[in-house]
Amino acid sequence: MERNIQRYGIINLLMLLLAAAGGYAVARYAGSLAGQVASLFAGLGALVALISWFQMRLEESERLEKLELDELARAKGSATLFEAGKGETFPAQRARLQFEKYFVPAFTFLLLIAQAGGALLLWRWLAKADAAVNPTRWMITAAFFAVCFLMLFILGRFSATIARLEDHRLLRPGASYTLLSAFLCAIAALGVAGVSVDFPRADLQIARGLCVLLGVISLETLFTLIFEIYRPRVKGKIGRPLYDSRLVGMLGQPEGLITTAAEVLDYQFGFKVSDTWFYRFFERNLTVLLLVQIGVFLLSSCFVLVDSGEQALLERFGRPVQGQEILGPGLHLKSPWPISRVYRYRTEQIQTVTVGFADDDKDEHASPVILWAVGHGKEDNFLVANRDHSPVEAKAGDRKAPPVSLLTVNIPIQFQVTNLVAWAYNHRDSSNLLQQIASREVVRQLVSADLNEIMSHGRLEAGARLRDRIQAATDAHKLGARILFVGLQGIHPPVKVAPEYTKVVAETQKKKAKILAAQAEAISTNAFAGARAFTTVNTAEAERQRLEVTAVARAAAFTNQLPAFNAAPSVYLQRAYFQTFARATEGARMYVLLTTNTEDVIEFDLKDSVLRDYGSLTVPAPPRR
């Protein structure tokens, strides 16, 4: 009996479309992430079913065309009818061939993009999405997906069985996707139900798992496309449709895993790989191998390898194991999972929490120079008491500036876990609590701090004081951590007022420069005054000496002149006069007037003759080349 497989193809297509649209709407309604991802699978399945249905129609047209032409040929009794040109004679066949040659690879490529892109986008979306299934709508959602599972499963099984028994290769892709969608609907229903019972993240985790599955399927599609280029082609053998995923088929029909694997290998290598001894051994002992694998998994969970720098908490049935609460670095034995479990922590690692804004360290274009006046992170301003003004009573509704200042703060606090039991068991998020405690202590210190002191010479001391305070608070909260370092290097005025602070510093420097210049000038003035005083005194001293010596000399000379004068008074005087005259006028210009006419007026031009001197200068000759 000839079945009309196109009808099954269209039913698969419609059911998948219904599951995709309905599943998406219901999943959105209930906030189920897994449901939304599962509906995407159904949507992709609908696409595949659509293409395979179209290909079925082409093949059916080709079959009818061939029948018609066979009929005609028998009626005419000649084969010349087909000799004009095959393409012109078999348009349906040509259409089918063109479809398989061009459209199917193009569609498979688009399918690959949809699968890979979908996996990537969904993964990103899931990273930001909240796992929040509406508690009042979970039952409707679970019921809808359960119904979908039932309908798709029955239809899928029926289609898959027909495809296998009657070898309808084009019915298989749609059937595989229908079965896979059925299972995914069941999983989505379980995820929603899991959220309602005890596993709040079940829905999210399932959605992530489905996302990974979609990625794996996209990889398979990619490899199928690549291998299609190199696959050995046997003439007359009809190929498997490119969009027919073996992985989807295997997941839809897990019992056919072995068959599918064998088919894949046979198809890819061009010979019966499934006849080899290794394959047969694998097929025979699969169950044992699976049991061994489970055994190995359980055995491996009995060993714990704690890395250096780490410590681990060992719990048996949820209780810390007496005497073995903390496992240090090395190899340890424990009961298998799920009896005993370990929780690792990096206790040796120096960890950091930051109070205030965080630097733009991740910004590659950030300047390597950090300046107060240039923003280098999202500012977080802290209040500081204003010591320049006493608190003022503000009037009601008055928005004048209160007696406080603001500081931008970026304080890294480095710490180490010293007591893992306290760190892990006392607080749900110890690191966050430490950050809160540190913020409180920073606020407390700043509200009464001297702004200038904390930004300059008191920074180191304030850092040490702050560290002690945070340590005390950490101990009081039994956090089991040691504060190693509190860095106040990131305290400065807000960017908006920072330039004014810089101006103050610049003016302070200028003030110092002016004072130093005046001091230098004062030193010079005093030094020259001292020198002048010294010169004055010494000149006076010299004059005194000269006076004294001259007086003595003159007295002595006078005493010696007296006998000579007494001996020849007039001659002595004349001689002395002429000797002195000759000596004194030696360098003088003298004019002796010998005129006897006393009535004449004689004019003297005593100006020095400068021109004559200049006129006597000779100009040197230019040098010869």
Binding site: P135, L291, V443, H477, A518, A522, A529, F558
Partner: protein
């Protein structure tokens, strides 16, 4: 036969695993749990360990973290008693004290629902306490006048009282002020005041520098004048001493005052003609009187 045994083993393992999942659960050291029977809390488990239960949907276990959880509220604006707008953010350490009470109060034990309730109570208590204190109690240059601890304790006491009244199975262990701030408009005003303060300091530095320099210069000039005047006075004294000493020898010249005066005149002439001089003599001046009677360049009439 062998294949049947294997199938039996695998089936057995699966049944055991499935059974354990259905009939048991573990509670960690960090957890407490409530077991509900047909939705009604029937067992409170506050010790870690392995426990049995009837399968879902008859019994269901709900686990909670019993450690202290930290929650911080929003940065909210309130008015202090001296009418300053102040933004505050506090953090609260809370834990579930009674899971059986906690579970039904918050939509099946939702921590986020509990935190929403806590936020409401906290905000109310915070506003009330902030309104009772002046800004100086929060920010003060004198550490002794700060009332941080008192404010925190007041907020905590109010929150605890409200939680006790609600009887919702959670307690607040600690509370701290995480952040203080000002509204944007006030922040701008503070920025302007800070800028003005700096401008005052800039002017102060500018004029102080000039004034200081001027002081130093005038002090130096005064000192220089003192040094110079002292030196000049000393020089006058020295010269006087020299003259006095020279005067001691004047009686020697009294032996022949005429000769002494003649000698002085000669010395004066010699001294005055040291520089380049132009002298005009007539023939009556000795020694040019020797030219008397010589023929001149112009015959006498």
């Amino acid at each position: 036969m062998k294949r049947n045994l294997l199938t039996f083993v695998i089936g057995g393992v699966l049944v055991v695993i499935f059974g354990l999942l259905l009939f048991s659960f573990q509670v960690r050291q960090t957890e407490v749990a409530v077991v509900t029977t047909f939705g009604k809390p029937t067992r409170n488990i506050d010790q870690p360990g392995f426990y049995w239960k009837l399968p879902w949907p008859i019994q269901k276990q709900v686990k909670f973290d019993q450690r202290i959880q930290t929650f911080e509220d929003k940065f909210t604006e309130d008015l202090t008693s001296d009418n300053n707008n102040l933004l505050t953010m506090v953090y609260v350490g809370w834990r579930i004290s009674d899971a059986k009470l906690f579970f039904p109060k918050f939509a099946g034990g939702s921590v986020s629902a509990a935190e929403r309730m806590l936020e409401g109570i906290l905000r109310s208590a915070k506003s009330a306490v902030v309104g009772k204190h002046s800004l100086g109690d929060f920010v003060n240059a004198d550490p002794n006048q700060l009332k941080f601890d008192a404010i925190e304790n007041e907020i905590k006491a109010q929150v605890q009282a409200q939680l006790a009244a609600n009887n919702c199975g959670l307690v607040v262990e600690f509370l701290g002020i995480k952040k203080l701030g000002l509204p944007d408009s006030v922040t701008q005003a503070v920025f302007e005041r800070m800028t003005s303060e700096r401008a005052v300091l800039v002017s102060k530095s500018q004029f102080e520098g000039e004034a200081e320099a001027q002081k130093i210069r005038s002090a130096a000039e005064r000192e220089a004048a003192r040094i110079t005047s002292e030196a000049e006075s000393q020089a006058i004294r020295i010269r006087g001493e020299g003259e006095a000493k020279a005067a001691e020898l004047l009686p020697v010249f009294e032996l022949n005052p005429g000769l002494a005066n003649f000698d002085l005149r000669l010395k004066a002439i010699e001294q005055s003609l040291k520089e380049k001089s132009t002298l005009i003599f007539d023939q009556r001046t000795p020694p040019f009187d020797l030219f008397q009677g010589f023929a001149t360049n112009r015959p006498s009439k």
